[in-house]
Amino acid sequence: MRLFVQRSDVGEFRRRYRWMVLFVLVTFLVLVGRLVLLQLVEGDVHRAQARRNIVSEGFLATTRGVIRDSLGRVLAANRPAYNVYITPAQLDMEKAWPLLARLLHLDDAERTALEQKIRDRRNLDPKDRRRQQQILVKVDIDRDAVAYLETHKRELEGLTVAPSPVRYYPYGSLGAHVIGTMREVDREELAFLSDRGYRAGDRTGAIGIERRWESYLRGQRGMRKVVRMAGRRMDQAELEAKYLEEPRRVEPIPGRDISLTLDIELIESMERAMHGQLAGAAVAVDVRTGRILALLSKPSFDPNVVSGGQGIKAVSEAYTRLYADPLKPTLDKTISAAYPPGSTYKPFTALAGLADGLVDPHAEVDCRGGFEYGKRYFRCTGVHRRVNLHSAIVQSCNTYFYELGSRISIDRLASIGLDFGFGVRTGIGVNPEARGRMPTRGWYTRRYKEAFRGGFTVLSAIGQGATTVTVLQLALAYAALANGGTVYQPQVVRSIETSDGTVVQEFPPRVKRMVGLDQSHLTMVKQAMQGVVTDKHGTGYGGRIPGIDLAGKTGTAQVSHVTPRSVDPNREWYFNRDHAWFAGYSPAASPEVAIVVLIEHGGGGGKNAVPVAMRVIRDWQKMKEDRLAARAAGSGQAKGNL
């Protein structure tokens, strides 16, 4: 009886069973459907993700190309810097630390600061990761110290000496502006540089050749895929065969080497010749090719420090110091800055006057110490009495050129300037180039919004007023004077080679333009420039070195300098002093090299700049003779273009 009752009660449930089965089936179908999607439809996507999870791409470092001068001397190369790190948790503070501090020659301040830091880390919670994080103790220790630390490894637990590649400039500050420096790529740049293989912490050329030829010098990283060993110990080779897709390894491509036209010895000689001068620039250029032989910008800086060879801290300290310096050591004064050329511009004024028939070379002007033009009186450097073209150049008589300036148009002065390459960028391709300025009537009208005045031309005729040039432009223009009117494309890079020395690309000299000149006019001006040094009235006569064959023109450019605010008022006199110039070429009869020397705020050009140029040319002649002798002796290392 009881059984019957229960049976009928079970009937209440019975109507639910079909629905339950249906519900269960549908639910499992949904699960299976999702599996179809994950495993069958999207299976490849997930497999790819799973592979990415276990495979990491390691990079194989490449080496940056070497920069050499025209004689193959290394100007920029790579070396390992050995940096010392310690792991706070592992170091023995009683014995190892004092030993280490002594070995690394840590001074007291450094030592206390580091010791505090290490103790702080050691006192952290045992689980804190920072206990295990390495602390940088010293960068770039010398090889002896590396060797010593290696042999005493056992007593110095927790110590790591890790090499990191740094750029090395054997000649230090010599030619630093043109050779260049390195810097770390910053985060904003990475956004677009990462496509080109740059990664955080990479270094790139900051200035000079290093920057301009970055893409050649840099090389290409190699790549190596590895299976991360996280799970069971498995045979690495077996794992690689199973999980790595080809290509498993791509070899790095070393950067290209670059040979420059520069001669580091000549730069060194310029540096020596400029010794004692605070700031200035010098350029030497081969007048037959337009190849730059030497570029010097003073004051300079040590590219080894600036490029990070002594650690990041040293870099920022160096820059802080350099940027605060009123002498602007970071400015490339040969290329990136324009100065009034002063009297060094007079040969071009003279050539324009001769070409236009405005000047009779034999006609004389009476210099009484100045020139009256309109309501203004323009001063001369002295009272030269009766001067013709020749003696006006030799003695640098302003009155003569004021008078010529009063008859010539300013646009004509500008046009001859443009012919010789002033007022436009030379296209040397290194460092940001200043354009300089060849003012025209139009320029003055735009600039001053008032009627043009003839006085502007009078000043431009002696290379003052609004006229400015770069040291490089002036050197190239003098090279053109020296070679009879050929303006060359300036070149600093002679060739590009692979790391094994095969020449990839050579850069033959390129003529930019021939300035249409009457050779008799040029001869007249060149004779006068010879007189500048040889004539005992010549402005450069006092600074000559007997036996040195150098012709050229001095200049003393007035400065309308607004003293920088950072300058100590006691030193203001310096910044108001004239710039001293000398521009010339050697040998006078058949020129090979043109040289320009600028001494910023150096005073008179004849007294200050000429001796510098003389000394450089003396060294240059000696170098040339030595190399010829060496070649003749058959030891034949010299392949320079001197």
């Binding site: 059984l3 009752v5 229960q6 049976r7 009660d9 079970v10 209440e12 449930f13 019975r14 109507r15 639910r16 069973y17 339950m20 089965v21 269960v24 089936l25 639910t27 499992f28 949904v30 699960l31 299976v32 999702r34 599996l35 179809v36 994950l38 495993q39 069958l40 999207e42 299976g43 490849d44 996507v45 997930h46 497999r47 993700q49 799973a50 592979r51 999870n53 276990i54 991360r228 996280a230 799970g231 069971r232 110990r233 999980y243």
Partner: protein, 372 residues
């Protein structure tokens, strides 16, 4: 589930299909556990994890013995045990707060000697027993109103509240869903169903705000918006799905799944054994496994349909629902269709309490099947 079958079968006999299905699941589960923990074989600190499949075997043996014991006593005698064990279970759940040691912020275990015993697992079976007893003793014929459910609701909600407080969202969900499935067998008035739906609609936002803990809410929001996940739960789910997808059609092979072997899978022997299985054996393996679970659940409904009394039918449905919801929640979590809640995969996940509870439940099912 034709009625004619009942008479065709004789007195107590082993339910062979159920036995085979359960044995198959146990075997796959052990194989999978071996693969999942093989990762730790060379790990100095956690090397003993590589051997937990041995203790899993012990627990399966214990569970099987208990299941045989449970199956051999007529299930109708458990009727009397239900209330006693229910209150005992509540006391144990309460004791958790006093005695428990906290694992990952949740207090779920009571240590007895060297064993960690998880009362909330055993409560699953006890709850099924209590509710089956209630349904058995309440042979109301006309459709029920919501008021009629007051008692079973209270019976369910007390342990749910205790477990939520541990906090253990997964287990409370299992209680609710199992109880709901059992009560769904009764006839309910249509109007009451509508009221129930409305009540649920109101209580969900309330539960969200007042019942769920911060991390539980975060898991659900991270499931709904995987891209702004800040809990790590989204990351776990992502790795699990990568593992499953990586299995493709036939899998990477036994102990070859890289997501597992390279330790990218979190909790691979407790929460995500399904991901390990799918990665090793692929879609083919997954379909076989889900097929076995599906068969077991439907077989439980079949057993219920043939039970000779309401107690047996309700027991069978309870055990089936318990199995079903465990599988759905765990697999759904692994394949990314449900948020990450800690629910074990029956007989796959490592854990003594879980294995023993599941085996005892299956013993009960066998019991009902044998006495129809």
């Amino acid at each position: 589930m034709a009625r004619d079958h009942i008479t065709a079968r004789g007195s107590p006999g082993i339910d062979t299909p159920l036995l085979l299905a359960v044995m198959a699941i146990i075997t796959l589960g052990l194989v999978n556990l071996y693969s999942a923990t093989s990762v730790y074989a060379d790990d100095g600190q956690r090397a003993q994890l590589a051997d937990i499949y041995v203790s899993q075997i012990y627990w399966i043996v214990v569970g099987t013995l208990l299941a045989i014991l449970v199956a051999s006593i007529d299930y109708r005698s458990f009727d009397r045990l239900a209330l006693v064990s229910y209150f005992g279970g509540l006391v144990a759940l309460a004791l958790v707060f006093v005695l428990a040691r906290s694992i990952r912020g949740a207090s779920r275990w009571i240590a007895i000697g060297s064993f960690n015993f998880q009362p909330s697992e055993f409560m699953k079976i006890i709850l099924i027993l209590v509710l089956a007893r209630y349904l058995h003793n309440d042979p109301k014929v006309e459709p029920r109103t919501l008021l009629d459910f007051t008692r079973p609701a209270l019976l369910t909600l007390v342990p749910v509240a205790l477990v939520m407080a541990q906090p253990d969202l997964g287990t409370s969900l299992i209680y609710l869903l199992t109880a709901g499935s059992m009560l769904a067998m009764t006839r309910i008035r249509k109007r009451s169903l509508v009221t129930l739906a409305v009540m649920l609609g109101v209580s969900i936002p309330l539960a969200w705000n007042f019942l769920l803990l911060r991390y539980q809410r975060d898991r659900i929001t991270s499931f709904l918006n995987p891209e702004n996940d800040n809990t790590g739960a989204g990351w776990h789910a992502f790795q699990a799905q990568t593992a499953i997808g990586n299995g493709q059609l036939f899998g990477e092979g036994f102990m070859q799944g890289t997501q597992n072997q390279f330790r990218l899978l979190p909790d691979q022997f407790s929460d995500f054994p399904f991901a390990v299985f799918c990665e090793d054996w692929g879609f083919a393996g997954a379909v076989v496994l889900l097929g076995l679970y599906c068969f077991a659940v439907i077989w439980a409904i079949h057993v219920a349909s043939q039970a000779k009394d309401r107690f047996g039918a309700a027991l069978a449905i309870g055990v089936g629902a318990n199995l079903f919801w465990h599988v759905v929640l765990n697999v759904g979590m692994a394949i990314g269709v449900l948020p990450v809640v800690g629910v074990t995969l029956p007989l796959f996940s490592y854990g003594g309490s879980s294995v023993v509870t599941m085996m005892v439940g299956l013993g009960l099912l066998m019991n009902v099947s044998m006495r129809r």
